[in-house]
């Protein structure tokens, strides 16, 4: 069974210390950016991660790619714990795990040509025999839909969508098994977004890649993900097959999130009441007791303040962290499937 797992995160925690008040001499506070997250990604599939700004998505991405070290917890890549590796072992293993970023521009060195940018990892990691870097680079460019003749051009000569293709080619150069994509299409126009999503899907089919795909756009994630994890204030509140989570959300936060998405169908305007959350997301420095969502939840009771709901399968087999999950309000207008 573990053989089917491309990536596994076990109880990952990341606290960022923040400045304490020197005058009062209080102990240092910390931002609980990721607070006990466990996830699995099956080989050849896509795990989508959604949630609002600041809920810890990017921190989680940086943890699983080991760009930062966790406060505690582990990350297994093909069964190997990468959080304890170092030196050349780490380098070799991490090669299998590549990241694509939101802003393709700031992640590309403006003084390097596209050819250099894509071939650099090839040379450093000795992926192809000496002298074949250029051929391989042009092959990669072609694969992501760039004109290989543009090998000598610089990032500023490319559009946003093309730059994102460059970022993808660079990630593919090391022949990874897992790609973690943090908001890879958020900065792009809809028409260009669709091109990149199609490209990512094709690459997955051809190369058997596994993806962790982070986005705040729920419909983009619906399109690409097999499994979806919904995060709120550093925790996963619901996880499951995309079809289930979207058609029958079990956690109140998931319901609210889905209900807030504007749908491109004016005929449905004003149908049913939408769930409207009140108030703001609480501070991750001092999250609410019990369930972190309770301050904005319309179902909350005393129990929610006292006891933290654990992320576990409910009677219907839905994995959700809520004391009162699963009653889909009819007004949500989501078709049962």
């Amino acid at each position: 069974m573990t053989n089917d797992l491309a990536l596994q995160a076990i109880d990952l925690v990341k606290y960022f210390p923040t400045g304490a008040s020197k005058i009062l001499g209080r102990p240092t506070n910390s931002v609980r950016a990721v607070d006990g997250v466990s996830l699995t990604v099956q080989k050849g599939t896509t795990l989508g991660i959604v949630g609002e700004s600041g809920c810890g998505k990017s921190t989680l991405a940086r943890l699983v790619t080991r760009l930062i070290d966790p406060t505690s917890g582990s990350v297994l890549l093909d069964g190997v714990d990468i959080t304890t590796l170092s030196g050349s072992d780490l380098r070799k293993t991490r090669r299998k795990l590549q990241m694509i970023f939101q802003d393709p521009y700031s992640s590309l060195n403006p003084r390097h040509s596209i050819g250099q940018i894509i071939s650099q990892p090839l040379a450093i990691q000795h992926i192809v025999p000496k002298g074949q870097e250029m051929a391989r680079t042009q092959e990669l460019m072609e694969r992501v839909g760039l004109n290989p003749e543009h090998y000598n051009r610089y990032p500023h000569e490319f559009s946003g969508g093309q730059r994102q293709r460059i970022g993808i080619a660079r990630a593919l150069a090391l022949e990874p098994t897992v790609i973690v994509a943090d908001e890879p299409v958020s900065a792009l126009d809809v028409s260009i977004q669709a091109q990149i999503l199609n490209l990512l899907e094709n690459l997955q089919k051809e190369l058997g890649l596994s993806y962790v795909f982070i986005a705040h756009d729920l419909s983009v994630v619906r399109h690409i993900a097999d499994q979806v994890a919904v995060m709120y204030l550093g925790k996963v509140v619901e996880i499951g097959p995309a079809a289930d989570v979207y058609s029958r959300p079990a956690h109140p936060y998931t319901m609210a999130l889905l209900s807030a998405v504007p749908v491109a169908r004016p005929s449905e305007r004003g149908n049913g009441h939408r769930i409207r959350l009140v108030g703001d997301v609480p501070s991750p420095i001092d999250p609410p007791s019990g369930c972190r969502f309770r301050t904005r939840c319309w179902k909350a009771t005393d129990l929610c303040a006292q006891q933290e709901p654990v992320l576990a399968p409910d009677e219907a087999g839905r994995v959700v962290a809520c004391h009162f999950p699963n009653e889909v309000p009819v007004s949500l207008g989501i078709r049962p499937s």
């Binding site: 609002e52 126009d189 999503l197 419909s219 807030a260 998405v261």
Partner: protein, 341 residues
């Protein structure tokens, strides 16, 4: 819908002189806006949406910009009005909110001060306590809890969504006739976006304002717009009522946009439709229809797509117009197909 237009834009063109040549950011744009109407403007990045918006506020009078045409606000041409006239219009009859609520606010003044200032610029000598109560009233209207306390706080003490509410309060304190909202919710989370859109709708009902809503999100358009302008490379390529846009779009670029949108349902339809290529350079626009290098239907355009700039013409039975050379029948049937896909 009432057809007394509060704002008429006629043949608006804006060009910027740059080292590489003239950028034609907006090219002969015309539209009308009625009180109480929400006009959505959609289009790809760089298609001229923001430049159009700032022209209406006469904010892009940089030395490199050449603006021609007419922008008539209840008959007054904003483009030729004196500086004094423009100052008395800006922020009073026409107000604007932007994408980034933080940069719109001054970090050194309390939010109450900033809302009050927006009022006092246009209402001299009003008693401070009267202004304060107007400000409190406005803060309540835009949904700031506990306004008596929050009026004396600074922008950094507010969340992104609350800051955007403050920006809206500043824009609405003078009860403008026209509110221009340029990507007002793009920087916000969806749950907050939903709150802000609700708020804009309810305040529109209360004040009977006209709203120009610029966004790249067709979902937002579907939720709040009455009519829609679709822009491509500085030109209007389609105008439609919101229901017509989604039932029967009338321009190939709009077909592509609808097909490229991801939805909350069905992922089993497989690949998204895409529009091949990327938007053109505004310095050397493609000849004929600017969309032709990316258009799938060029071969049906009787050879005109590459050579003749298509004019906007009315089409179909839903009150739409298109700037496309395809015949009416072809467009309407392709449009219905695109909407169904």
């Amino acid at each position: 819908m009432s057809n007394t237009s509060v704002l008429s834009v006629r043949n608006l063109s804006v060009a910027f002189a740059t080292a590489d040549g003239d950028v034609i950011a907006v090219d002969k744009l015309s539209f009308d806006l009625a009180l109480g109407e929400t006009l959505g403007i959609v289009g790809e990045s760089g298609s001229g949406k923001s430049v159009t918006a700032s022209s209406i506020m006469r904010l892009n009078n940089s030395s490199s910009a050449t603006t021609t045409g007419e922008i008539l606000l209840e008959g007054t041409n904003i483009l030729t009005a004196s500086e004094d006239e423009v100052r008395s219009i800006r922020g009073k009859d026409v107000a604007m909110i932007f994408q980034d609520p933080l940069s719109a606010l001054n970090p050194y003044y309390t939010v109450g001060h900033q809302i009050a200032e927006a009022y006092e610029v246009h209402h001299h000598g009003v008693d401070k306590s009267v202004v304060r109560s107007l400000v409190l009233d406005m803060m309540t209207k835009v949904g700031i809890p506990n306004p008596e306390k929050r009026i004396d706080e600074y922008p950094h003490q507010f969340s992104g969504g609350m800051r955007q509410r403050i920006v809206i309060a500043i824009a609405l304190i003078n009860q403008p006739k026209v509110l221009i909202a340029d990507e007002p919710t793009t920087a916000l989370d969806v749950t907050v976006q939903a709150q802000i859109l609700d708020l804009m709708k309810s305040l529109q009902l209360e004040f009977n304002m006209a709203i120009i809503l610029i966004t790249h999100d067709l979902g937002v358009i579907a939720e709040v717009a009455d009519n829609v302008l679709v822009m491509y490379a500085g030109r209007i390529v389609e105008t439609s009522s919101v229901s017509a846009l989604f039932a029967e779009p009338v321009h190939p670029y709009a077909f592509g946009l609808l097909g490229a949108v991801t939805s909350l349902e069905a992922s089993d339809r497989g690949q998204l439709d895409t529009i091949a290529g990327s938007p053109p350079s505004l310095i050397s626009l493609p000849s004929g229809c600017s969309f032709h290098p990316r258009c799938e239907f060029v071969e049906f355009g009787n050879g005109k797509c590459v050579s003749v700039v298509p004019e906007l013409r009315s089409i179909g039975t839903l009150g739409s117009s298109t700037a496309c050379h395809l015949s009416d029948d072809v467009i309407v049937s392709l449009g219905r197909k695109a909407a169904r896909a």
